[in-house]
Amino acid sequence: MIHSSMIHTAMLRTKLLCILSAGALLAAAAGVARADSPLQSGVPATLALPANNLVLNAYIDVDATAKRLTFDVCSVQPCGGLQGAPSSGDFDLFVRYGTPFPATGLSEDIINRYAHYHAVSASSNETITVLPSSRMPLRAGRWYITVVNASQTAGNGTLTVTASPATQLGTIHVDFGHPSTDPDAPCDDSFWTDTTAATPVGGNNATTLGAQRQNALFHATNELVTQLQIPIDITVHACGAHLGGDMNSAILAHAAPLTYLFDDPQFPLNALPKKYTWYSITSAVRLAGTSGCSLGGGSCDGVANEELEAVFNEDIGQPNIVGGEKFYLGFDPSPNPGHSLDFVTIAMHEMTHGLGFFGLVNLDATQGPLGAKAGISGNSIAFSNLSLGPYDDIYDDYVAIVNGSTYTPFMGYEVNGANDAARIAAATSGPVITQDGDYNPGTQTGLRWSGAEAASSSVNINAGKAAPDNFPSLYAPCDKITTTTCAPEPSSTLSHTIQAGDMMNAFYSGFNLRSMGLAVPMLAPLGWSNASATAPVFGQTIPSNWFDSTHNGHGFDFQVVLRDPVAGHDVYLLTFYTYDANGNPEWYQAQGSFVDGVFLPDLQSNGQTLYRLVYTSSDLGHITAHADSVAGSVIVDFNQAAQSPACRNVDRSSIALLGVMSWSIGNESAQWCVQPIVQLADHASPDLNGHWYAPTDGGWGFEFLDVSNGTGAPTVVVYVYYPGANGQPTWATASGTLNVTGSTTLNLLQVSNGYCRLCTPPAQGLTGTSVGSITLSSLQTNLPAGRPVGAASITANFAGGSFVRVNDPISELSVPPGAP
């Protein structure tokens, strides 16, 4: 094929190096020796990293007794201590199980894509904790570590990996500092330092009001850690604020995770089980085993190192606020017989929301379509005018719509908000309320929690019943306070339980609460389970021609060119056939590995992963080309593609194999949902499908689609890539009936009304214009050693010239389907 090298299988990458000298293009070959360094558990290894350098594939072998594996990089000695000053540098930490990071052509972005875990804050101290419950679960085997110094200055430090046979609880740290005077989001730390004398109460023995408040909040966080058995650290920003009130009502507290985020090909979060799905930062931190700033990058200073914010009304207790009622600050609720304003209960309830007990589906008509999933508009979560999305959220992924004995997912696959109305119907399926404060606890609703942990939990009063009767109901009143028809109550619906006495009821006064109740099993599938996880099953692909049905006429040829047992990955060649801004056919290429369900292209020496060749000669046997200056990149992710918005713009529910192609060329970028044109089962026999080239005339080639017609002659479709006018890379197609044993001449057509990558397809469809012909002959298959061969003649005319070959020897470049 074009691609250059026209070489042979196992030596492909090495051969491509030869092309490098001609085209200065391709990345260094795989197979360069790795200076892997073994590490011993608990023994620090020294890091002395020049700017923009890395330590690649240090590793530790872990046995089956390990229950906790912690990776620490630090530049302050002793690690985690306060002695000494941090060195300069910006160390980032990446961890991968089983197979190593590639040896060459590494950018930090590519390393991150290989990593199962990352910690990439702006500091030089990074920690990752891997547990049996993590997405890539802790298990026996080899764990590889790569440390990158991403700064422009050198840095020194240590790398320590510790395998522990014991489980360990983490800590919810509480930051009582970092006040803010922003009038819209104030945070007053004096709430926690109030020196007013206080009498010890309910086990809280502090003698000042501020200290009692701190203790009460610590007690609440400790309850959460203990009941959820939280094994990692989380940080809460605790604030006071003058939230006011009057004699009859007042705000007590509010809380939320500081951010929501999702895994997307633009920036992978491989520690999260579900792609294209919103997670609270708290859940994400639990799953990723690192802090929020290390997970998302950026500063870890101050509140940037925190995941949850809880704000308490410091006006509570004033005589003019609810009659001067005060927070009860005791640990033991029994001395507070009315259970009024129980600080610990309120803090636990609100912080449980902050741990991710929170659905994002829109229930407020002023915010956008009712029932809509959450996307992004501008830089904010929104429900209309979306620039990205919409996306499922992990909480709502475990909600079911129950009708009698049947149930359907609250989220799930759908096109353009098709299930918005069904979601709202479920969200208003509970008892009618006609005035604020109406509450009918215990009445089952059609909005239920389907997570298995909660359905079978001993705290679920319906456990033991058949599904869906054992699904805990969620708060879903039919709100008729202001309307005569059912409306969702936007304020409490969906994110609260209705089981009487449960902490996560929307109305929870009068309860003697220290138990999280249903929240423990309900939070489990959101990332808080400590049960051992099974190893992830990654997406699969097949060598084929892939296309997006909403961008018909564009597509890519995707073929295995090397099975690389050393790296453990197949190497693929991707040829993206497309059209330029003027609709002229053009093509780009990438070469890379298929890793964990993702095509990860090699970084080329020009810094790009998707490149476009421009020909400087098309002479027989001496085709030369170089990459042009257009910046390009491509990733094809075959994991959970159906959850991507790109795959939900038209109904693809019946398509078994989907991928998300994320590409950028120049200043254009998009995500396309791709599917194979031909399934492996439809290949003809003998199977000639693959990428073909001219071994002695490297620089042109074609994709060969060879489709079975039962007992009849197979149908052949070829996509031919060759040098066009002015050395521009162009392509044309041909199709017909294949004469396997004889000669097949096909009319070569070029699309005359191509459309640019971000343009709308022409309404009348694509039109082909004849530009010549291609003849395939002397095809020989099933060679005992080597690839199918044959001969090709081609005449492809273009303005000002033509590309002509006569009986050029050809061979299949790619690994034939099914071949080892």
Partner: protein, 90 residues
């Protein structure tokens, strides 16, 4: 040829595995410099649109009722949730 290639790799791997324990781990340069951290991440994240808020109301019988509701996130009022990172090329 392929086998010879692989054998070479194995031999090289064995040779480099005996690093001194206290010597700094071997380093090599990135193929491309790491981007500045402030713009490096293309992470998709955003501030939540709402917070959960518990309020208290005195009922006609004099008792107190607590109710948790979702309210617009005050942080979004304070400033747009400029939290999606800059673009990073895939």
């Amino acid at each position: 040829m392929k086998n010879r290639f692989l054998l070479g790799l194995v031999a090289l791997g064995a040779a480099v595995s005996a690093n001194a324990a206290d010597a700094p781990l071997a380093t090599q340069p990135l193929a491309t410099p790491a981007p500045a951290k402030s713009t490096a991440t293309g992470l998709r994240k955003a501030t939540p649109p709402t917070v959960s808020e518990t309020s208290v109301t005195r009922k006609p019988d004099g008792s107190l009722a607590m109710n948790c509701v979702q309210k617009p996130n005050p942080k979004l009022k304070a400033a747009p949730a400029a939290t999606t990172g800059g673009e990073r090329q895939p």
